[in-house]
Amino acid sequence: MLTAAAPQKVTARRNQVVEARASFQLPGGYHVNSNTPNEDYLIPLRLKWEQGPLVTVEVVYPKPEQRNYSFSTKPVSVFTGSFQIVTKFKVAANAPPGPGVVVGKVHYQACSEDTCYRPATLEIPLTYEIH
């Protein structure tokens, strides 16, 4: 359902703060709950990166849309179509120089107007080079 384009390779020095931008795409007619759904029972989208030399400082989600669906009495906070999530990393002070890959996991739950899909996890690799 949700597809992703891997972020561009990150090149950085120790202690530097860098950004990685991951792009996502949903087919027309489908949505995923945003990272801040309006109802407690809805499963939020979350991006988490595995631990490594790139330390996550902040994950910046796009501004969600507030859409009306027949199954909810109030607008639902969603992402649709194409959207991007930006992650700010700080390179660890003791990071070993050289190339590497860190994997982010996007946990999400998608629906259409009349159907929901079981929660799923999408893995996105980020390649980096530390000088």
């Binding site: 949700l2 007619g29 029972y41 107007e113 159907t115 929901c116 929660p119 996890t121 893995e123």
Partner: protein, 200 residues
């Protein structure tokens, strides 16, 4: 009705690649109006509903074969599924109105957080039918259920008479059930044996 108290946090257990395939399968007919046009299969075209063994909220083991001789509405759902919540009040009505006619609704929750998420929901929604906790095995047994709601209508002989994937109208279910009540009663009167297929 508010379900705001039903907080819910999912652990990462699945990868997402089975979902697109399901989306493609239903893509040709993705609106409620389209899918509601499906009709009950002719008796000879029905396949046996796989038997299963799952726990209910009281910890009791329940098998589909326990319902032999009854028309069963088998509904796959989850607490996080908005469209499922539209159908649940209908199923409550069906259970109340038809339980004396040899009919039962059986809900299979696909909540990964288990009873912790499902029990409060059952109470708050006033669900009057049996709810079981599903898993990947039963999902696979029924063709890989990834889209919710998905509902199977099973005749008194334990065969799948119709399948509805996604939200359809209450009238569609009423129509299907009416056919099953009529058709199945004839089979019972004629002494046709009731057989429910067993899973391996």
């Amino acid at each position: 009705m508010s379900y705001k108290t039903l907080g819910f946090f999912h652990s990462i257990k699945k990868t997402g690649w089975a979902v697109p395939a399901i989306a493609v399968l239903i893509g040709a007919c993705s609106t409620p109006a389209c899918r509601s046009s499906s009709r009950v299969k002719a008796s000879g075209d029905r396949k046996p509903a796989p038997d299963f063994s799952l726990k209910d909220a009281d910890g009791k083991t329940v098998q589909l074969s326990d319902y032999r001789g009854k028309v069963v509405l088998l509904n796959f759902w989850a607490t996080w599924c908005g469209p499922c919540k539209i159908e649940i009040p209908w199923f409550i009505d069906f259970e109340r109105e038809h339980k004396d006619q040899g009919f039962a609704v059986v809900g299979i929750s696909m909540d990964e957080d288990g009873w912790q998420a499902v029990r409060p929901f059952i109470s708050e929604a006033g669900i009057n039918y049996r709810v079981l906790l599903g898993n990947d095995s039963i999902s696979q047994l029924y063709g890989g259920v990834e889209a919710l709601p998905t509902t199977f209508l099973i005749d008194r002989d334990g065969r799948i008479a119709s399948v509805h994937e996604g939200l359809v109208s209450k009238g569609t279910y009423e129509h299907d059930l009416e056919q099953l009540f009529q058709g199945a009663s004839g089979a019972r009167a004629s002494g046709v044996p009731v057989v429910v297929a067993r899973a391996n």
